[in-house]
């Protein structure tokens, strides 16, 4: 196997066995990137020079948990001295003077940053077509989208451009692209990983997580990035277990629920449904107990999300006013024009749509009708999950209703696009940990299965994911990078 095809842990073993050097690994990664990224278009910014320098430096002084191992970041993580764009015109030239907490933790464990990955602008979207730079392509079919908003992460990992990447997940932005690209996407519980330095979309739901080719690599990275951060008041101060200790294939006696609502939903592809049922059968074979349950408020999740998320985003994105950083219209002759012109030029349509929606639902007279109501629905959805988790260890659903769609197919139809997140959004509303892992192929395209756990039961989720992975072959398939990009 080529170096670029290996996972983080595999590479680590090779380094420990002295079969390979850090420089060889990093060089192989950039070689791969230069070979395939013209097709896949995962990266916005590469940090090759620094990465190679670091690799040379680390050759003989590996100490950290991921010393000498390459990683990449969704371009929503602030990186000191390296531009952080959020795939927006607004931040095209923005170079932070700080590293996000998750990034500095990876750095202090001597990981090597390869570059910054494409995304939907400000993490708003499900296809990575809404990047101001270019759309990213799905390595399984270059005519199709990789999903979003962490589409660059999923595509890069699937295409072997990097073994792991950090993404962010507000309504499915890690899990949905992972499912579309046939890789593993892990979203921890809200509060598990610091949000400090991650550009905010929806503060009450944003959560950093991992996209990898193997479940064990998620555990490895979680061991580093999880844990309390005094700089983030919403990060919880509770013990962080050794996530790699959950990497055992034994799941006998595990009680797994599957919500009927998720499978009966209109628009769910039959093949997707069948593959997830097949996966549930597999779990049964492995000794798990599978039962159908009801999450009755599921159908209100997406509407509630479509109110809460834009509401928060509308004020999170108000700081982009052209005064201190980011795009500014220098020609305007008064401050109001400067605001309007800078923001009109700096934001794309979807971002503007959400700012307008959010502003509307928070306006005097609408707050009670929309925002408050949505927050009440959010509570009901959380209660639904809490009730199930009193009796069951985990919940399994499809990650997405369909496989990856074609580029341009849904770009003019935001409602259909939002519908992609129907199975992932409730998890964010409830703040739960969830993973998407490959569970088969439909017409040559990967299908993802979502495993949801109770709050802070990341270990249990990883355990179940690992057991499935070890007993199936889906994750071993590699995309051919075929199809003609549009």
């Amino acid at each position: 196997m080529e170096l670029h095809e290996l996972g983080l842990r595999d590479l680590q073993n090779k380094l420990n066995q002295k079969e390979v050097s850090v420089q060889e690994i990093v060089k192989s990664i950039f070689k791969r990137i230069h070979e395939v990224d013209d097709k896949v278009k995962s990266f916005i910014t590469l940090d090759e020079e620094n990465a190679l320098k670091k690799a040379a430096h680390l050759q003989d002084s590996r100490k950290g948990q991921i010393a000498g191992l390459p990683f990449a970041l969704k371009d929503v993580f602030c990186t000191r001295g390296l531009r952080t764009t959020c795939a927006s015109r607004m931040l095209e030239d923005f170079v932070p003077i700080y590293d996000a907490t998750a990034v500095s933790r990876l750095n202090s464990e001597q990981g090597i940053l390869v570059g910054k990955l494409n995304m939907d602008e400000f993490a708003m979207g499900s296809s990575t077509e809404l990047s101001v730079f270019f759309p990213t392509r799905n390595p399984w079919d270059l005519e199709r989208v990789p999903g979003g908003s962490s589409g660059g992460c999923a595509a890069a990992v699937a295409a072997g451009e990097v073994p792991i990447a950090l993404g962010s997940d507000t309504g499915g932005s890690i899990r949905q692209p992972a499912a579309f690209c046939g890789v593993v996407g892990f979203k921890p519980s809200y509060g598990r990983v610091s949000r400090w330095g991650v550009v905010a979309c929806t503060s009450s739901m944003d959560q950093a997580g991992v996209i990898a080719r193997k479940v064990e690599d998620c555990a490895l990275i979680m061991n580093i990035i999880a844990g309390h951060d005094p700089l983030d008041a919403t990060s919880v101060n509770i013990e962080v277990p050794d996530y790699t200790s959950f990497l055992n294939p034994d799941i006998r006696g595990l009680k797994i629920a599957y919500p009927g609502e998720y499978f009966q939903q209109a628009g769910v592809d039959k093949q997707v449904k069948d593959l997830v049922f097949k996966a549930l059968k597999k779990y049964e074979e492995l000794g798990a107990i599978i039962e159908e349950v009801s999450l009755p408020h599921t159908r209100y999740a997406l509407p509630a999300y479509c109110i809460i998320s834009p509401a928060e985003a509308s004020t999170n994105l108000a700081c982009y006013d052209g005064v201190r950083f980011g795009l500014r219209d220098y020609e305007a002759d008064n401050v109001l024009d400067m605001y309007c012109n800078s923001r009109s030029a700096g934001f794309g349509d979807e971002v503007k749509r959400r700012i307008m929606l959010g502003t509307y639902v928070l306006s005097s007279g609408n707050y009670e009708k929309y925002y408050l109501k949505a927050m009440q629905v959010r509570r009901l959805i959380k209660n639904d999950f809490d009730k199930i988790f009193k009796e069951y260890d985990l919940i399994i659903t499809p990650t997405t209703p369909t496989t990856a769609f074609k580029l341009g197919a849904e770009i003019d139809n935001p409602l259909t696009l939002y519908g992609n997140d129907i199975f992932t959004v409730p998890v964010n509303l409830a703040g739960l940990p969830a993973i998407s892992i490959p569970c088969g192929f439909s017409d040559g395209l990967p299908v993802g299965m979502q495993i949801i756990g109770p709050t802070f039961a990341e270990g249990r989720v990883l355990n179940a994911a690992y057991a499935f992975e070890q007993n199936t072959e889906y994750h071993k398939n590699k995309p051919a990078l075929g199809g003609e990009p549009i």
């Binding site: 959020c86 004020t315 108000a318 928070l362 707050y367």
Partner: protein, 482 residues
């Protein structure tokens, strides 16, 4: 003012809380530094930055709330107040709307010996904005500069009930509030530096009417005097408008110090919709009762308690007690002096009279005054002992104020000892009586007022050093005797 009308005032006071660091980051709150030297990416609203609540701010807010007789919330919450302005980097201010930390309090003001309770609706924590610096006038400046040093300075917004009925009551409320904030160490209370700021909601209504009139909110009240003048001006403006059959509109106005009038800023229709909602970055703050009681136990003597002590234990008139408790430094000065001198009223007279006059004229804070309280007490004792007269004392006081020397040293240096020796004085009295034989005659023929003139002549002859009591006694005897 037209007596047919009643003015109704409620005050919103912003007090900067005296903390080392800002409310949501660890930047310094020091005043007067070079622009943009006390900021971090959080202060500047940079992407990915998050607020973390400074616990000391909560503690100080609780302290203020307790001193203002408020209920302290078991759970309070922060909300975002959204609006665009170049001095507000995040384009929202973190404040508290529905669940403020303090509610339902009051303070008592004292007007001409009458006590009146003014309700405090609420007090909530929030962050301050930065400031804009314009070259010249804001309307004509070619550009504006932004200084973010003040961004994130902790504020407590204290909102009163509309219980205030005159400019004088408003001033008394502000003075009392300021003294409470100073006594508790909550704020430095410097209106001129903006660490204590005040907006006034003003309306008028015909006397006896229950409904409140349409109000205007007056901003930019940077001194007690501005507050009084603005209320008087605005109340009269409302009354005149009503009398002329005009309609008052609800609006925000600003006090123009130069023109001594209020000017319209914006009407209610033009007001921002702040789109308040709970800040998802800050979990609700739980305040356990034990903590509150711990803080209550640290409350120092408050102005009301001090006033009561001064009236009941020292026998001072309520007016004196109010003045002496305006600041903790003033009260401490009195207490120090009182420990070394027996007569509280005499200390009070000197402090409210000569001392205040000199401090104001020289623009000196009492803590920087060269006359230490013990030295003032010593001077008062020297008067009682007859070493100097009250008149001489004023000269000694001035010297003490300028140089900080002890009174004994000054008296010795200037040879200012009082002449109480009867034989020395008698000699001078003889001379004065001889030189003013006519006046002596007048006295003896019944013009008793002439005595004063003669005493004055003796004092003049001794350059004020004669003991006036003894001079009076001796003169009276001599005039009777012959």
């Amino acid at each position: 003012m037209n007596e047919d009308y009643e003015v109704v005032v409620g005050l919103e006071v912003h007090a900067e809380l005296k903390t080392q660091s800002k409310i949501f980051c660890s930047c310094s709150t020091a005043f007067g530094s070079e622009p943009n030297t006390q900021i971090c990416p959080g202060c500047a609203g940079f992407p990915g930055m998050l607020p973390v609540l400074n616990k000391q701010v909560v503690e100080i807010a609780i302290k203020a709330g307790l001193a203002l007789n408020c209920e302290i919330a078991e759970v309070c919450r922060f909300d975002r107040k959204n609006y665009f302005y170049p001095d507000l980097p995040k384009a929202y201010q973190i404040s508290q709307l529905d669940l403020p930390i303090c509610q339902n309090g009051y303070l008592e003001i004292d007007l001409d010996g009458q006590k009146k309770r003014i309700g405090i609706t609420r007090a909530h924590m929030e962050e301050d904005a930065g400031k804009l610096i314009h070259q010249g006038d804001i309307t004509s400046a070619p550009f504006s500069l932004v200084d973010l040093n003040r961004c994130g300075t902790p504020l407590l917004e204290i909102v009163s009930e509309p219980d205030i009925r005159s400019a004088a009551e408003a001033r008394a409320y502000m003075e009392k509030l300021r003294s409470i904030l100073l006594f508790t160490g909550v704020s430095t209370g410097k209106m001129e530096e903006g660490s204590l700021r005040c907006d006034a909601n003003i309306s008028v209504r015909p006397r006896g009417e229950k409904e409140l009139g349409i109000r205007s909110e007056i901003k930019n009240l940077n001194s007690f005097r501005a507050l009084e003048r603005a209320i008087e001006y605005e109340a009269n403006r409302h009354i005149e408008a009503i009398e002329d059959g005009e309609k008052i509109i609800q609006e925000t106005r600003t006090w123009d110090e130069e023109k001594q009038m209020t000017l319209s800023m914006r009407s209610k229709e033009e007001a921002d919709d702040y789109r308040y909602f709970p800040d998802p970055n800050l979990p609700p703050v739980k305040i356990d009762r034990e903590w509150v009681e711990k803080i209550r136990a640290t409350l120092p003597e408050l102005p009301d308690q001090a006033q009561l002590r001064l009236v009941e234990e020292d026998g001072l008139p309520p007016y004196d007690a109010t003045i002496l408790t305006l600041t903790p430094e003033f009260l401490a000065y009195f207490d120090d002096c009182r420990a070394h001198y027996h007569d509280a009223k005499i200390i009070s007279n000197w402090m409210m009279g000569e001392l205040s006059k000199h401090l104001n004229q020289n623009n000196i804070e009492i803590n920087d005054c060269k006359i230490k309280p013990t030295a003032l007490a010593r001077m008062l004792n020297l008067i009682d002992e007859g070493t100097i007269s009250g008149k001489m004392a004023k000269r000694v006081f001035e010297e003490m104020f300028d140089t900080g020397k002890e009174p004994d040293v000054i008296i010795k240096e200037k040879g200012m000892v009082q002449i109480s020796d009867e034989s020395t004085l008698l000699k001078i009295i003889e001379e004065v009586m001889t030189a003013n034989a006519g006046v002596v005659e007048d006295y003896r023929s019944g013009k008793k007022k002439a005595l004063g003139f003669l005493v004055g002549q003796v004092m003049k002859a001794t350059r004020g050093q004669a003991n006036p009591a003894i001079v009076n006694k001796l003169l009276a005897e001599r005039l009777k005797g012959d």
